[in-house]
């Protein structure tokens, strides 16, 4: 009995925002099942009274001084954007609506709305 089903894999892929083909789902179901079976060996290890160890070196996340310092210039930060509109990263419309200006696109009006072309 596998530890995970194909339906669970599909649901998980949705949560992880990964589009998987049917072949990938089938292969993933087998792979994850085998790996989960292997890691089940950990159940034999007694970890009662053991504190979780999240990091190798204890550190206390020191806060730096709250001073203004130069940051990445806007053009540098946007230089790798696959799609850019002025000072913004461009994404498909988030809020559905008939006309422009309802997508909360920061003043870019309708210019960023609608479906993307297939380029």
């Amino acid at each position: 009995m596998s530890r995970i089903t194909a339906d669970e894999v599909r649901e998980l892929a949705l949560l992880a925002r990964l589009r998987l083909s049917d072949d990938e789902v089938a292969r993933m179901t087998g792979d994850l099942g085998a790996i989960l079976e292997y890691v089940d060996a950990l159940r034999a290890l007694d970890t009662s009274d053991i504190e979780p160890m999240t990091h190798a070196v204890p550190f206390d996340c020191p806060a730096r001084a709250d001073e203004t310092a130069p940051s990445l210039p806007l053009d540098d930060a946007l230089a790798n954007a696959p799609r850019r509109d002025g000072d913004f990263f461009q994404v498909p419309r988030i809020v559905p609506g008939p006309g422009g200006g309802q997508g909360g696109q920061g003043g870019q009006g309708g210019s960023t709305g609608g479906a993307e072309d297939g380029s």
């Binding site: 892929a13 949705l14 085998a34 790996i35 970890t47």
Partner: protein, 498 residues
């Protein structure tokens, strides 16, 4: 001037460039010529930045001529794993999802190497997002082992190890999350160092599993690796997990290992039975046992130690690293940089299609496994359990280090395997890391160095593990072994690579 750079170590190159005997520019031209001639068959480089390398070498030569200190690594030609962000130079982690990405900033490690006079030749191939133990997961091309091109170089820093072995750079850097520096170093017959967690800044290193990612150096000799580590290490305000420790005298420790007939007098070396298990290749075991004898002749006392939870290390490691990876890889969404799927009509579709197209098989597998073990209802049984097991594994080392100063083990239970041999079974591939993952979980330093060859001519690796911030004892032990053997002087056949 004849530059015999192939025969020279990194520190010898720096000495000659600093003295003005060699020009950094000539050294770089020598290496660029070798890359052009030999790398087609090996696939170490994803990108060769010849113009940038010439410019950097000229700057080193100009600094020396002007009477300025050109740096401890003056003119040393370096290869950089393609996981380190290099400003304006494409950085992809060997993934299609980052194709075309030109970082707007420089990683601290590469900035420090450059400040020390090191000359970056280009970006080195790797398993996609540092996930793999054979380099077969590169989305671009496989790296071939210079000792036998039918065999893998190990991974994930396979390009970094193979490039040093084939003298396509004088030193290189990589990252080690579960063995990704040490295992390829072992399979390619070079020295690889995973330092203490936080000793080398992770700023500008593309994240795989943040609590386990350790940047570190590769060299042909222990002193070369020590020299690179000295240049890279040290506190960095840009990395909150960087530790506030001054940089140690690593080169001096390496030199101490070569001094006198018994440089290891008074040093206790632990040998854990759990690292010599059935299934280990008999030639690997014989070479490591012989190395232990050699270390004893160098003055060390060998003591039995026990690391009783070793059998849980792989399961613990894969639960933690996949959980962290699934979070870290959430940032690749087609919006800010890299690949973006075409023809989508919603943001949701942009995410799922971009990620489905952009990630290869292994990152997908790890994202999915990580998402599974972090799910509500499973979190405590898997991820929570693994965090507790991690402490037990770290405690094993703490207990062992009350009885010894360093621990000696094989680096990999097997020499390099053939292409395709393990690709069909991800679990078999994960088990390649069985002797290297525990020091990552504990955050302690470990060095791999060559300690022999199989009858068929494949390198074998010896691992020296130290306590936290025990880099110096590791370098001293490794250097003592190196001084008494000649494995590190052997070079792969070039006919194989042309």
């Amino acid at each position: 001037m004849t530059v015999d750079a192939r025969g020279a170590t990194a520190v010898a190159i720096a000495d000659k460039v600093r003295a003005g005997t060699w020009l950094a520019r000539d050294v770089v031209e020598h290496y660029l010529e070798r890359i052009a001639r030999l790398d087609g068959a090996l696939g170490c480089y994803l990108l060769v930045d010849a113009e940038g390398a010439r410019r950097r070498a000229d700057a080193v030569d100009a600094a020396r001529k002007a009477g300025r200190d050109p740096g401890a690594l003056a003119g040393v030609p370096l290869g950089i794993k393609d996981i380190f962000c290099t400003r304006g130079v494409e950085t992809t982690c060997a993934s299609a999802i980052l194709r075309g990405f030109k970082p707007p900033y420089e990683s601290t490690a590469t900035a420090r190497l450059a400040a020390a006079g090191g000359v970056m030749l280009g970006k080195l191939n790797m398993d996609e997002f540092a996930m793999g133990s054979s380099n077969e997961n590169s989305s671009v091309k496989p790296v071939r082992n210079p000792w036998s091109t039918e065999h893998v170089p190990g991974g994930s820093s396979g390009g970094s190890a193979a490039a040093v072995a084939a003298s396509l750079c004088a030193g290189s850097i990589g990252t080690d999350t579960g063995g990704s520096i040490r295992q390829p170093a072992a399979l390619c017959g070079v020295v690889g160092v995973k330092p203490t967690y936080g000793l080398v800044s992770r700023y500008g290193v593309i994240a795989f599993a943040s609590s386990l990612d350790h940047p570190g150096p590769f060299g042909r000799t222990v002193e070369d690796a020590a020299a690179l580590l000295e240049a890279m290490a040290g506190p960095d305000p840009l990395d909150a997990t960087s530790i506030p420790q001054p940089v140690g005298a690593y080169r001096e420790a390496a030199r101490a290992g070569r001094a006198g007939a018994t440089p290891l007098a008074g040093v206790r070396l632990g040998v854990p039975d759990e690292y010599f298990q059935p299934g280990m290749d008999s030639e690997v075991e014989a070479a490591v046992r012989a190395a232990l004898d050699e270390l004893a002749r160098a003055g060390a006392t060998l003591v039995k130690v026990s690391l009783p939870n070793t059998k849980y290390a792989i399961a613990t490691y894969y639960l933690i690293c996949t959980a962290e990876a699934s979070s870290n890889l959430a940032r690749y969404d087609g919006v800010k940089y890299g690949h973006r799927a075409a023809g989508v009509s919603s943001l949701e579709e942009l995410y799922t299609k971009t990620r489905g197209e952009g990630f290869g098989r292994e990152p997908k597998r790890r994202i999915m496994l990580g998402a599974y073990v972090l799910r509500a209802g499973y979190y405590e049984a898997y991820y929570g359990k693994a965090l507790r097991a991690r402490r037990k594994l770290a405690d094993d080392f703490s207990a062992a280090f009350t009885k010894c100063d360093a621990i000696i083990t094989p680096t990999s239970p097997v020499p390099a395997f053939k292409f395709g041999e393990r690709m069909g079974d991800p679990l078999q591939m994960y088990l390649a890391d069985v002797l290297t993952v525990a020091p990552n979980l504990a955050g302690i330093p470990a060095v791999s160095q060559p300690c022999g060859f199989t009858k068929s001519g494949l390198p074998i690796g010896l691992q020296t593990i130290g306590p936290a911030l025990g880099e110096q004892i590791c370098f001293r032990v490794a250097s003592a072994y190196e001084a008494r053997t000649d494995w590190h002087t052997r070079r792969p056949p070039e006919s194989n690579a042309s």
